[in-house]
């Protein structure tokens, strides 16, 4: 029996290769995901192995609870350093002074995007720096910069660079050196860096205090790291904390493992989608192959093959196919994963030296999934094949298709079930928002499966409708009819495309809706025309001189201008946003806020105003007292709530008098809102305000659109990222459509021969197949767009209470998806169409 299977497979090579492509793709993705994740982890481990090389113990400042990175840092003090240095077990000590800094590039703008800009002390031992040009900084007005900084700032050796930290004024430095890092790197994970003398670094980070962000200690010979740690205990005391370097590196590796997990999940997700889609392809191919072999199977049955043998022979074929394809896929995947490692390492870790790790689980998982999926997909066709009665062998083949009633009824039921879940969830039937959201989300997933089952039923009317477009040409009409001919096959082929398109449409719709909702809220509530604010990506929060606000208010055409100070403070022991301003009433009005209770006029010392839900969170109300500790505050202060605001995303939080801003993390204002008087020329006013702020490089004057674009930039990136998913879905879909078309052309050889005998030209034949292909692809894409929009709408509705109130359709993207579907159809048609146009007429119409 196996011999017969093998011979049969050899006779259908082309068909099998097409089918196996989907399996190859799926297992390649899985293998490459695993290899890439492991390799990045190994590469990062190599890099963190460089950190504090040679040191045995690290002494760092204490991490105060609940205050996170926003805190102004306490350092390891000079006294602690002296105590450490006096220990007999210590051979060598090196110090690090490192924190975020803002530096201005050649264009006068703050350097850097999402990666931070750091100030360090030259001589810091945390990483190995390699001087490439010039020398180390020797005076407080000299600086050496990383090669990455040179690239991003446009400045170079001999130029003057302006830099400042949160509490320091802008200072000009001469660039005297340019350096890289061990392994020829230009940066550490993309960050830009400026190295100062130790005193200057201390001035920037600690305001001149003789303190350090880390002290690296090397043990005297004969002293182990653990012994050193123990002996430093009294010197370090309660002011700082000490850990072994090994423990520090392990922490770093654990952190990077956490980060690389995301990349791994992303790739694994791609792999699983490819595998999921290939289930359809494989099941489809095996069904068709078996339909074409009915006579052969019946003959086998007639000469005594048992049902089990038939099933097993089909499954053996699937297993063999799955094994070969997934081994090939695993090989490609491992190679691709190794190759991608250097791409990722260059792009994200900025290192040319990579370590490739190939965990044995990678090829194993890829092969297991590949074989498993192929065999499972072939199970239904295999069982159906075994039910072939022996008399089929004697009958003329080609009967009507199996009815699709069963699948359709199941699909309808599943869709209804999912719809019920959605309706229940959206109507908030359950207690608890999470339950309702769950119900809607699960319902949406179930509807997705239901629609996939309904594709066969939907194919007739939709394909007929689509076909109306082609009906002007007779060949086109035949192609359209052919596409509708076998609803099952068309449906399964289209479903492969539908899945991908559904996912991307749903995500794009949701992201667009979120973006539009934010924009709409913004437009409807915010009264101010202009915003004075800095980029969200700057290392040190962008601030400006509050004295300038008087000049801004003096500008002709400015009605009101309100500056805001921002802090994350401890309010009754929880982290809360706290704002301070001189003109609370004006600010609330410009933000479109609404006072519910009490007053917001003339906040006095010890008084605060808060929005409803923030107050509820602490169980506080009008007249109650709360305790606040600000970022730089040394003591807790009591505040009485004198006013309550309605909830509004733009005004939520606590408000205190501006006099408290001195205790904020940023004692200078971060934002200001400007209301332009009616009838004044907004552009003119903008120019005048810009002139006032000419010496404040950190902030710029933005109008509504510019401000919104800055706030919502993340969504644009996310939307681009998910388009990659689409590309993958398209590749698999092309394979699926080619597969179906080639099989259809084979099955219709006689029909094609007859048409050619009757005078159909090759061109017409090609057109006929192309139309069939494009119709199937468009059908899948339309279904996907429809389902995706529905899913996106459901999730948007479920999130409406959280403020996502607008439903926005990404029209341009959807048009692009449909365009891509047409392209898929055209590409997939090439080979089958050529094959159809070259059908040997005589062979096709002759019979034995």
């Amino acid at each position: 029996m196996l011999r017969a299977t093998l011979k049969g497979m050899a006779a259908r090579k082309a068909r099998l290769i097409l089918t196996s492509l989907a399996v190859v793709l799926g297992s390649a993705f899985i293998a490459s995901a695993l290899v890439l994740t492991a390799s990045i982890r190994a590469t990062v481990a190599d890099l963190s192995g460089d950190a504090y090389r040679g040191a045995d113990v690290l002494v760092q400042p204490l991490e105060p609870e609940n205050r996170g990175d926003r805190l102004v840092r306490d350092g390891v003090t000079a006294e602690t350093l002296a105590a450490i240095e006096s220990s007999e077990d210590v051979a060598e000590v090196s110090t690090t002074v490192s924190w975020m800094v803002n530096a201005l590039g050649e264009d006068g703008k703050i350097v850097g995007g999402f990666a931070p800009t750091l100030s360090v002390n030259w001589g810091d031992a945390s990483v190995e720096r390699e001087l490439r040009e010039g020398r180390a900084p020797e005076t407080d007005r000299e600086v050496a910069v990383s090669a990455q900084f040179v690239t991003e700032s446009g400045l170079g050796l001999g130029d003057t660079v302006t830099a400042y930290a949160l509490d320091t004024d802008e200072t000009a430095y001469e660039i005297v050196g340019v350096y890289g890092y061990s392994g020829g790197r230009d940066s550490l994970s993309g960050a830009t860096e400026l190295a100062f003398t130790t005193p200057e670094a201390q001035r920037l980070v600690f305001g001149g205090e003789d303190a350090y962000t880390a002290v690296a200690v090397t043990a005297a010979s004969g002293v182990s790291a653990d012994d050193l740690l123990a002996s430093l205990e009294p010197a370090v005391g309660d002011e700082a904390q000490a850990i072994t370097r090994q423990a520090y590196v392990d922490d770093l590796n654990a952190e990077s493992a956490e980060a690389t997990k995301l990349i791994g999940y992303f790739l694994l997700g791609f792999g699983l989608i490819a595998v999921f889609v290939s289930v359809f392809l494989i099941a489809n191919t095996f069904s068709i192959v078996i339909a074409g072999r009915l006579k052969e199977i019946a003959m086998m049955r007639a000469i005594g093959a048992g049902r089990g043998q038939i099933t097993r022979s089909v499954l053996a074929e699937a297993g063999l196919l799955g094994a070969v394809a997934s081994v090939v896929g695993a090989g490609i995947g491992v190679a691709a994963g190794a190759g991608l490692t250097s791409v990722v390492a260059n792009g994200f870790l900025d290192t040319a030296s990579t370590s490739v790790a190939i965990p044995w689980t990678a090829p194993l998982a890829a092969v297991a999934v590949g074989v498993g999926v192929t065999v499972l997909s072939a199970l239904v066709p295999a069982v159906r094949a075994s039910k072939t009665p022996p008399v089929e062998a004697m009958r003329a083949a080609a009967k009507a298709d199996k009815p699709i009633l069963g699948v359709t009824v199941t699909g309808l039921l599943v869709t209804l079930l999912g719809a019920t879940g959605i309706v229940l969830g959206l109507n908030e039937t359950f207690d608890g928002d999470n339950m309702n959201l769950m119900s809607a989300a699960v319902g949406a997933g179930v509807v997705f499966v239901g629609v996939a089952l309904l594709t066969a039923w939907l194919s007739k009317p939709v394909v007929a409708l689509l076909g109306a477009v082609w009906s002007w040409s007779f060949a086109g009409r035949l192609g359209r009819l052919n596409a509708a001919r076998n609803p099952r096959r068309t449906a399964v082929t289209a479903a492969a495309l539908m899945i991908g398109v559904t996912l991307v449409t749903a995500t794009a719709t949701l992201l667009t809706s979120v973006k539009e909702s934010l924009a709409a809220q913004f437009e409807s509530s915010i009264q101010a025309e202009l915003f004075i604010t800095g980029p969200v990506t700057s290392s040190v929060p962008a601030t400006f001189d509050p004295e300038l606000m008087d000049d801004v208010r003096a500008v002709d055409g400015v009605d009101t201008a309100v500056e805001l100070y921002y802090d994350v403070a401890q309010v009754d022991g929880t982290e809360q946003s706290v704002n301070a301003t001189t003109d609370l009433e004006g600010g609330i009005a410009l933000f479109g806020g609404e006072v519910v209770e009490g007053t917001v006029e003339n906040l006095a010392e010890g008084q605060t105003v808060v929005n409803e839900s923030s107050a509820d969170l602490l169980g506080a109300g009008l007249g109650d007292t709360v305790a606040m500790t600000f970022s730089r505050g040394t003591e807790s202060r009591e505040f009485t709530i004198v006013g309550i605001l309605a909830d509004n995303a733009d005004t939520d939080g606590w408000y205190v008098d501006r006099s408290y801003a001195t205790e904020f993390y940023t004692p200078k204002p971060t934002t200001a809102l400007v209301d332009v008087a009616d009838g004044a020329d907004v552009e003119e006013v903008t120019a005048d305000v810009e002139a006032v702020l000419a010496d404040e490089p950190a902030v710029s004057v933005q109008n509504h659109e510019e401000y919104l674009a800055q706030v919502t930039v993340f969504f644009d990136y996310a939307i681009i990222a998910i388009q990659l998913l689409l590309a993958l879905a398209m590749i698999v879909a092309v394979i699926g459509v080619v597969n179906t078309l080639v099989l259809s052309v084979l099955e219709r050889t006689r029909e094609l021969g007859m048409l050619r005998a009757m005078g159909m030209t090759r061109g017409q034949t090609t057109r006929m197949v192309t139309v069939e292909s494009v119709t199937i692809a468009l059908f899948g894409a339309l279904l996907g767009v429809g389902t995706g929009l529905l899913l996106g709408w459901i999730v948007q509705q479920a999130l409406a209470p959280s403020g996502i109130e607008e439903f926005a359709v990404p029209t341009a993207l959807i048009a692009a998806y449909l365009g891509a579907a047409v392209l898929v159809g055209l590409l997939a048609a090439i080979a089958p169409a050529v094959r159809a146009s070259k059908v040997d007429i005589l062979g096709a119409i002759s019979y034995e």
Binding site: L478, L481, A484, I845
Partner: protein
């Protein structure tokens, strides 16, 4: 109508046609120096045992296959030497086909199948003419049916109507009754006879059924790639009688060429 002219012109002719398949030891000569003319408005049957070359002859005459030597003409048009494009156009405009297995497009209705050749050519069939043949074939109330909803005989009648719809110079029928029961077969043959008598159609039919051949005006017998007999006004008995002596005919023909 011009087709009623008593002067019989030649619709199809073959002159010294040779055709062989394969090479060397495996070479099979299907046609050996065949020359034959088919008159306009006549119904000719080609008969012969399996492997006699009757199907090959038809394929060569219809421009479906190329000849190794010799020439073929459809009317005044030389078929030999035409490229694929010209052959396609020739088949589309001048030839009708009826195959053994009905070869209707399952996606189209009976009416759409009948007008298929016109649609392929991007032309419109003459409605009066269509009405006439559809009426003759008794298909009027079957026009909107799909092939799967028709009986075998009905399907073959649709195929007949399709072959005649463009008024081709010649209709080639390859075992048109091979898949039909006796009654349905007789209906199809009667129609072919009628289309010759009433519409002046030229028909060349390949068959191995003496009963079918009896409907023709003339029977050409093929054996071993040669024409061995040309019988006018055949009857079933005459044809059966001839076939009984087939081996002698073949031997005589071989001696003749030897």
């Amino acid at each position: 109508m011009s087709t009623a002219s008593p002067v019989k012109t030649t619709a199809v002719s073959a002159e010294g046609v040779w055709k062989a398949y394969g090479t060397g030891e495996a070479q099979v000569v299907a046609l050996r120096d065949v020359s034959v003319q088919f008159a306009s408005g006549a119904f000719t049957a080609i008969m012969g045992p399996s492997g006699s070359g009757k199907s090959t002859l038809m394929h060569c005459l219809a421009g479906l296959d190329t000849t190794d030597r010799g020439t073929v003409h459809i009317g005044d048009t030389p078929v030999t030497g035409l490229n694929d494009k010209a052959l396609t156009k020739l088949r589309r405009d001048k030839i009708g086909f009826i195959f053994q297995q009905f070869n209707l497009l399952p996606t189209l209705t009976a009416e759409e199948n009948i007008t298929l050749p016109a649609a392929i050519a991007g032309a419109k069939a003459d409605p009066d003419w269509l009405k006439k043949i559809i009426h003759t074939l008794d298909l009027t109330d079957r026009l909107s049916h799909k092939p799967t909803e028709l009986s075998g005989g009905q399907q073959q009648r649709v195929a007949c109507a399709r072959a005649l719809a463009t008024r081709p110079e010649v209709v080639f029928a390859d075992e048109p009754t091979g898949n039909l029961d006796t009654r349905s077969g007789a209906e199809v043959l009667r129609f072919l006879r009628t289309s010759v008598d009433d519409f002046g159609q030229t028909i060349v039919m390949v068959t191995h059924d003496p009963g079918a051949a009896a409907y023709a005006d003339r029977v050409v017998f093929l054996a071993d790639g040669r024409i061995v007999e040309d019988m006018a006004e055949p009857t079933a008995d005459k044809v059966i009688d001839k076939m009984k002596h087939f081996e002698e005919l073949v031997a005589a023909a071989q001696e003749e060429t030897a």
